[in-house]
């Protein structure tokens, strides 16, 4: 890692002003929230923005609001620590609190924001490395070269989305509030992300994320987030499994959504999951059907420190454990 390169630092007072600076600066500008992803990437010379636009000075982006009709509304500058500690979130969206709590380290959670976490850059073994090595090996698609080292025949980058909160938010049916030159729009998480490690999301360069809206949980909702990683602190996920399910009074599953993190350039929803679980009491056979669906859907590539075969195998193990936890809580 090197020292930060030179850049000019802007600190707008309103969202509109931020958007205007971004529009005027074009691709040379970059938004920074907590900076826990941006600055290390700049020190590795993965990013070299000329203008850094900090959202810190914009009032009102740090709010957490909840009511039973609207659900949860998070300003984009809410920190991961605030989410992990918030009583309503811990009670109603426990998977979100535990996902936030699982991110990196206490220091970084105090700085890191939810907006930054959903906009976290994709990661890959061959990309998140010092300049020297990338230079010696030859650059890949994501760093300006013309080949993907992970999937040589792939026309697009397959770097993975490692956000811990994104799969959970998607499983809860959340939307992202985006503010741009034409005002505010809401986009559901599944439509926000794209399956491309370079493009990453449907968001113009002059749009910023100002908030996240999560619908109120239906009665009987239970949620869990399980994270596979090398150590119980610091590390990015090698696999994230978010599961939100509704169980009726008799323990029968009425709805289920599972979204995986760290297997694809976007959070990966297991579409066959509802079929496997809904109508069952989350018994052994249902769990095995679901685990099989997850195992078939997840196709990890060689872009983390764990081997492909290990991550593939863990898909089923973690899926089983997630469902079993929900069943046990019922």
């Amino acid at each position: 890692m090197m020292r930060l390169p030179r850049f000019s630092y802007r600190r707008p007072q309103t969202a509109a002003e931020a958007v205007a600076i971004l529009a005027a600066s074009g691709p040379d500008a970059l938004v920074v929230a907590g900076g826990t992803d941006v600055y290390p990437n700049m020190k590795q010379r993965l990013l070299r923005p000329k203008v850094v636009v900090a959202l810190r000075g914009i009032p009102g982006l740090g709010q957490i609001e909840y009511d039973d009709r609207q659900g949860l509304r998070l300003g984009s500058m809410v920190t991961l620590r605030e989410i992990a500690e918030h009583q309503d979130i811990r009670r109603l969206y426990p998977a979100l609190a535990s996902a936030a709590e699982s991110v990196s380290t206490p220091q970084l959670r105090t700085m890191g924001t939810i907006g930054g976490n959903v906009c976290l850059d994709t990661r890959c073994n061959y990309y998140n490395q010092d300049l020297d090595w990338r230079e010696a090996l030859g650059f890949c698609l994501k760093s300006g070269g013309d080949i993907c080292r992970v999937a040589r025949s792939s026309p697009t980058c397959r770097a993975i989305n490692c956000s811990d909160t994104a799969p959970v938010l998607q499983a809860f049916g959340a939307s992202i509030v985006v503010t741009g030159p034409h005002g505010e729009r809401r986009v559901r998480l599944e439509d926000f992300y794209v399956d491309d490690g370079i493009q990453r999301w449907n968001k113009a360069a002059d749009e910023i994320v100002t908030g996240i809206a999560v619908p109120p949980p239906a009665p009987g909702t239970r949620s869990v987030y399980l994270k596979l990683r090398s150590r119980s602190s610091v590390d990015f996920p090698l696999l994230g499994v978010a599961l939100v399910a509704e169980l009726d009074g008799r323990g029968v599953c009425r709805g289920a959504k599972m979204v995986l993190g760290a297997v694809a350039p976007r959070p990966l929803e297991i579409t066959a999951l509802a079929e496997a679980l809904v109508g069952s009491r989350l018994d052994k056979a249902a769990i095995e059907r679901a685990a099989r669906a997850v195992f078939l859907a997840g196709k990890p590539l060689d872009n983390t420190i764990a081997t492909i075969s290990y991550r593939k195998r863990m898909l089923a193990v973690y899926a089983r454990r997630a469902i079993a936890q929900i069943a046990a809580a019922a």
Binding site: Q129, D132, W133, S230, R231, S309, Y310, V317
Partner: protein, 776 residues
């Protein structure tokens, strides 16, 4: 032994407060007026010849004050290891400060000094280097094959050092065996992860004399190696002793690139120059050598060894440096001498590759040996249905045996048996189940391992410095200054040495202060390494303090009108032995000894009661007379998740004959820190390099998986078996290294006990466990 009042007390480290409030004494905090910031340009290629370096643009960058390329650097080949003399024939001299050939990715090729760090970095990007890239080899097995790229002319087949030791006749021994076991064990490259980076500031004056501040484990070694590499007489280099450094663990036991480069940049610019390595640079500066150990072991039915043979292939990386010494230490202490056996043979070689240079690391070849030996003993016991504790005791050395390394010494204190028996009892070893017998997905297992033989220094080993010296000076306020070259690298050496001085003088621990020092003002001391400070430097400070006390009592005898032999010092006061009738504080004696000989009183000039004036002090410079062996056993319980392969150490107990415990707080810290390092070695740490380019892929703490506080077991107990070593200061022996040598085999054995499968390659990752269970 008479009662001790300071030794054995839980005294606080004298620098603890200083460290938690900013640590002014860390070399990383040294700043000088006019100081420049240096930066090294490092090769992206693992093996290349430099055709041309163009620095013109960099030199023109405003703020750049000096640029250094190989052509402006003395081309004197040196070996970098501090504890061996420059010309020691056992060492390989293959280092150059900067040369026209690079042999690992990250080897420096040029350097700049500028007024700001950012400018220095920018200047590096302006240096244009043309490389002639050469074929590289990263695997020691491949490196030894015919036709492999040759890294050094002096080393055909890339073999840097070839050694063999043994006694008896192993082939005969194998014939007498009932069973012969053959297994191969492999360890990986790990880093010491000291917290304070390697950092130095070097200043020069108009006579070309150099002053060096550095985060180093040895000021005299740095002085000697730096002077040699620069072609200067040793008197031109002065190294300032750091008050303490932020860890070393063997990783700061050799001359790096930064000190000579800063020296040359300072001579060129006339200003002090500082280089602080980034964490990435630290990761490619020093590491534990990967070793492949092939064991062949013959035993009788009852578990008695009849023959032991081992062959070790150690990867030394691009330069031999420590590899030339780690290899024999590994062979002797890690294998050959560990247990009694009539016929033993060891062969080993250190092999060059285009990977980073291996370095010193706590245990110095021991952990690689212990992982192999202690794993295999458990494998043998499992196969022959023998009790692993009884097996080891049957083959262990005994107290009062001749020292297996040096028959001039005896194992005067040696309590491995007590370590094993008491450790087993406290750990409830008897409740251990048979291997893999647990049910459920998470299975528990317990295991243990020994390090039967180790050192309390290096006395008796050829080619390694081992003397220490000290000056103890008494002050008029009753305190004592201890001047010594020993660097405290975080293990609490300052506390231990102060306690020894305090005990010997009869004062409290906080009355002893460690003096500021440099290579000009204190006697030579061998490095802080080899578990030697408490024993070896401890003996030197004890002698110096003893001679200061002797002088004190001679002076005081004039006040008591008694023989010095009839006096004693208790709680900082001199008195007649056993009598409290008259007590004179040390402060008063010291003051009277230094007061003017004549004082003017009302009745005219009066003589003060002490005739011979002077400062009360004592000095020493000596090597201890022996090298007693500590003995170590560690018990561990783990839980293995058989679905994910994850291993969680639950509790550990460390039983160690360390002689007398001088500082219990410091000793427990050694055990706990050692377990953390040993557990990282066992389960997760791995300094991974790209197999295509040879670049380090674990250059930060995100990618280098060192255990965090959460991974640590809930309980680590230290059980110190206090023998009373006659040759040690107040009966002390050594502790530091074995704490890290035993965890890996103990954990490996516990994992086996949990799941019934054996992993012979470190680190034992979840993937390897699942593969061993046939699930991957």
């Amino acid at each position: 032994m008479s009662e001790l009042s300071v030794v054995g007390q839980r005294v606080r480290s004298p620098d603890a407060y200083d460290k938690v409030t900013g640590g002014k004494g860390f070399p990383v905090n040294v700043r000088l007026p006019g100081m420049l910031h240096g930066k090294l340009l490092r090769s992206p290629y693992a093996h290349a010849r430099i055709v041309r370096i163009d620095t013109a643009k960099a030199e023109k960058l405003p703020g750049v004050k000096a640029v250094l390329t190989p052509s402006a650097v003395p081309q004197i080949k040196y070996h970098s290891v501090f504890f061996a003399p420059n010309l020691d024939p056992g060492m390989v001299r293959d280092m150059l400060i900067l040369s026209d050939t690079v042999r690992f990715a990250g080897e420096p090729v040029a350097a700049v000094a500028a007024t700001e760090l950012e400018i220095a970095e920018e200047a590096l990007e302006l240096i244009d280097v043309e490389y002639d890239v050469l074929p590289a080899v990263f695997d020691p097995g491949e490196a030894m094959r015919p036709g492999a790229p040759q890294i050094w002319e002096h080393a055909p087949n890339n073999v840097a050092v070839n050694l063999s030791f043994g006694f008896g006749d192993v082939e005969q021994g194998f014939k007498q065996a009932d069973y012969v076991f053959e297994n191969t064990y492999q360890t990986q490259r790990v880093h010491t992860c000291y917290m304070e980076p390697r950092v130095c500031v070097v200043d020069s004056d108009r006579q070309g004399d150099l002053t060096v501040w550095s985060s180093t484990q040895h000021i005299f070694g740095l002085q000697e190696k730096l002077a040699f590499a620069l072609g200067l007489p040793i008197s031109k280099v002065r190294v300032v002793k750091p008050r303490y450094i932020g860890g070393g663990f063997g990783g700061k036991l050799d001359l790096g690139y930064i000190e000579p480069v800063c020296a040359l940049l300072s001579l060129k610019s006339g200003r002090p120059v500082r280089i602080e390595q980034t964490r990435y640079e630290d990761f490619i500066t020093t590491a534990r050598h990967p070793v492949k150990v092939q064991l062949r072991t013959g035993v009788k039915k009852d578990g008695t060894f009849t023959a032991r043979y081992a062959k070790s292939i150690l990867e030394t990386g691009a330069h031999a440096t420590h590899g030339a010494v780690v290899l024999p230490v590994h062979g002797l202490m890690g294998f050959l001498l560990t247990y009694r056996c009539p016929d033993v043979k060891w062969e080993g070689c250190a092999v060059y590759t285009n990977n980073m240079i291996g370095g010193g690391f706590r245990g110095y070849g021991g952990p690689q040996g212990a992982f192999a030996v202690e794993s295999q003993i458990d494998e043998i016991c499992e196969e022959l249905k023998l009790d692993p504790i009884a097996f080891r005791l049957k083959n262990a050395h005994r107290e009062a045996d001749p020292h297996p390394f040096n028959p001039n010494f005896t194992l005067s204190t040696y309590r491995l048996d007590e370590c094993l028996k008491r450790g087993a009892q406290e750990f409830e070893w008897s409740k251990r189940q048979s291997a893999g017998s647990g049910s459920g997905t998470k299975k528990r297992g317990i295991g243990f391992a020994c390090q039967p033989l180790w050192v309390s220094g290096c006395v008796g080993f050829p080619g390694i410095y081992e003397h220490s010296g000290a000056i103890v000076k008494l002050n008029v306020d009753g305190t004592a200054d201890l001047s010594i070259a020993t660097v405290d690298m975080g293990c609490g050496q300052n506390a231990v040495l102060s306690q020894i001085v305090a005990e010997e003088l009869g004062v409290s621990a906080d009355a002893v202060r460690i003096a500021y020092a440099d290579t000009q003002t204190v006697p030579f001391d061998a490095p802080t390494h080899a578990s030697r400070v408490t024993y070896s430097a401890g003996n030197a400070v004890k002698v110096a303090a003893g001679s200061a006390r002797k002088r004190l009592l001679e002076v005081a005898s004039q006040l008591f009108g008694a023989s010095p032999d009839d006096l004693e010092v208790v709680n900082g006061r001199v008195r007649l032995k056993g009598s409290r009738a008259k007590e004179i504080p040390i402060a008063e004696v010291v003051e009277l000894a230094g007061a003017p000989a004549l004082t003017l009183g009302l009745e005219g000039n009066q003589r003060t009661p002490i005739a011979d004036k002077g400062t009360i002090l004592g000095t020493s410079s000596l090597a201890p007379a022996s090298n007693p062996s500590p003995a170590t056993a560690e018990f561990v319980e783990v839980e293995v998740d058989t679905e994910t392969g994850e291993v969680r150490p639950l509790r550990a107990l460390f039983a160690h004959d360390i002689g007398r415990v001088i500082s219990p707080l410091g000793a427990e810290g050694q055990v706990e820190g050692g377990f953390q390092q040993g557990m990282g070695f066992a389960l997760m740490e791995n300094l991974v390099f790209d197999s295509e380019t040879g670049s380090c892929l674990a250059g930060d703490f995100l990618n280098y998986k060192i255990p965090t506080a959460i991974e640590m077991p809930g309980e680590i107990k230290s059980l110190f078996i206090e023998s009373n070593e006659p040759s040690g200061p107040f009966g002390a022996k050594a502790l530091a290294e074995p704490c890290l040598i035993v965890p890996a085999p103990a954990i490996a054995n516990a994992i086996y006990n949990a799941i019934g499968v054996r992993v012979r390659e470190l680190p034992i990752t979840p993937e390897k466990i699942l593969a061993a269970l046939g699930k991957l």
